[in-house]
Assembly symmetry: C2
Homo-oligomer: 260 residues x 2
Amino acid sequence: MPSDKKSKQLTRRQLLGSTIAATGALAAGGAVLPEHGPRLNAAVPSALEGDTRVILFQGDSITDAGRNRRQAGPNNASAMGRGYPFLIGSWLLATRNDPNLKIYNRGISGHKVPDLQKRWQKDTIDLKPDVLSILIGVNDIWHKLAGRYDGTVADYEKGFNELIEQTAKALPETQIVICEPFVLRCGAVNDKWFPEFDKRRAAARRVAEKAEATWVPFQETFDSAVNDAPANYWAGDGVHPSMAGHMKMTMAWLKALRDG
Amino acid sequence: MPSDKKSKQLTRRQLLGSTIAATGALAAGGAVLPEHGPRLNAAVPSALEGDTRVILFQGDSITDAGRNRRQAGPNNASAMGRGYPFLIGSWLLATRNDPNLKIYNRGISGHKVPDLQKRWQKDTIDLKPDVLSILIGVNDIWHKLAGRYDGTVADYEKGFNELIEQTAKALPETQIVICEPFVLRCGAVNDKWFPEFDKRRAAARRVAEKAEATWVPFQETFDSAVNDAPANYWAGDGVHPSMAGHMKMTMAWLKALRDG
């Protein structure tokens, strides 16, 4: 969901960032750079620059990451949890140097698409985000496997599309970022998750394409990461990322925003 | 306190890292790069590479940063707090891809040098860190200004030196990182803090030089940062960093390890 507002923000600093990124790519031509190495480099993604002031992370426990839900204000470490919203937020705040930048986390542990729908007005629309990042879907299948929910893949896709439509109607300028649901093959994740989990990933991708949203390919991130360290290094139970896993997500999220 | 063990760790990857850093410096020659921009680039400091397995952060509330002290194990997000140890640890774990890497935080809110001395054997020596980072000093003056403590600058320096000597004797291979105590001119920090606070910073520096430790110039970091955003953007009360402040510390800490 690109808007003219965002495309006008190509500053001298971003142009330089692109140049440096290109230089890095050239230097990496020898293929000795660690392929999945750190990606927290100098360029702030253009979608997060300029007059982008409110950035909101929505989702389930992976986003929640132990945040203090009694703290509602922005840029509060306790309210941000111990996951990728905290890492991304800290990096952006230290890089943008902008007291008007406001980062919010409204992920809630255990939530599925229908739970987001119930609280969407209050927890998303009312915050008027310039950038809205959504990661939802793992509980939609996990709770179903556990016999606590009966939503289908089609229900997931329909509800997710409705969330986006509600957002686009209320906040047409908001840039939407849709994060791919992901699992690691360890802990609570066994063969029973497949192929349904892959179908849900594909559904999320269709939602992103329909919305012209930025897509963050987290499953690809972790499929690569397991070449470097065991699956449980990235997420002990296969669902909830470790410190290392959340930093991988941070790098992938920022890269997706840079790539557009 | 450099050791032969560390100097042997210059790998192909680190050499490449240095090359890229140099390329970046050249690209920045035009002086349009934000001077205090992000510094989380591709190179893992050599002191944190190879067989460096245990990294320990010691200090007061700035290091503690709200950690769950009932969690004693390494690499646990809850045990790491919401500050620079979490940010540095997350980055290293995501970059080193090494299940043998263990990051600990043993900062305790309110502590001064004499408090560290009482728990040094159990909370530092017994963990056998390869790299030990210490940030201590702000309470040594703050509690004195509040009339709750009467330790002088000389007491601070003597006790700090004793901590280092105890460490060097028990763990001669350990690389020691001494972080400069710092304040921002806002919140609880007023003119009464000076010039004594500057004398305490100088004392910490002498301890680092005597120990041949890596020095992390945090005061310089924040003296620069206030050119980019107001003091309370980096630390609301002048002592405890915000998310942005902790990320600045992270960048400065990693830069000092790379340079030193």
